[in-house]
């Protein structure tokens, strides 16, 4: 799980072009949206694409996305449980 969390942090920084943020800046329980990393709605769409492309997980319910992308810890747990890749 530690490796998956590390991988997710690296992917999020690269995919979302978070130039001024490093892996060590993101705590496992930091909020990804709102006051945390300050991601926006387009970032959320990119994360949905990442789940499909890299882990074979298709999110179809927007409410589910809101919960899944709460933090790195929540996202890693969800991926570990549902991944097809």
């Amino acid at each position: 799980m530690v490796e998956l969390k590390q991988e997710l942090k690296e992917k999020i920084i690269a995919i979302l072009n978070l130039e001024d943020i490093s892996v060590s800046d993101i705590d496992d329980d930091d909020a990804l949206f709102g006051d945390g990393l300050g991601l926006d709605s387009i970032d959320a769409l990119e994360l949905i694409v990442m789940l499909d492309k890299d882990f074979g997980i298709q999110l179809t319910d927007p409410k589910e996305g809101k919960e899944v992308f709460k933090s790195i810890s929540v996202l890693a747990n969800y991926i570990a449980e549902h991944r097809k890749k």
Binding site: I42, V49, D52
Partner: protein
Amino acid sequence: MDYPKFFKMDSLSKLAFLGADSLLKFEEKEEDTAILLSNRASSLDTDRKYQASISDKTNYYPSPSVFVYTLPNICIGEISIKHQLHSENCFFVFDHFNAEHLHTNAEYLINHHKAKRVLCGWVDFDDKNYEAFLYLVSENGNIAHTSNDIKKLYNS
């Protein structure tokens, strides 16, 4: 650049954003600033990147963050968000820099009190070539606002 969203922009938006920022940071804040921008290549540079990203049907994952920049006027939104501008805006696509068209539209906005100030210009980006020329128009500017003066500034 102390503005995280800058790194998410496409090249055209970065160009327009930097051009506008270099002008507006020396000016008093004015929400009632309209924006009239123009170019030749529209959003072609990003259009090509997006096209390339969806050309492989076996690896078909269109990028939302690239797709949102497949319109040239998105760069106006980026400038408006940073500088909190809430006025009229328009993006024109011409074969060449069109001083007359920008002049006519800026005059209309000022004379009909649609805006107190107008940020005008040409921001073109295509592959490795780019060009940016921006200027501000207001009722009490230092240089006469005529097509000829705009052309002179553009060619200087």
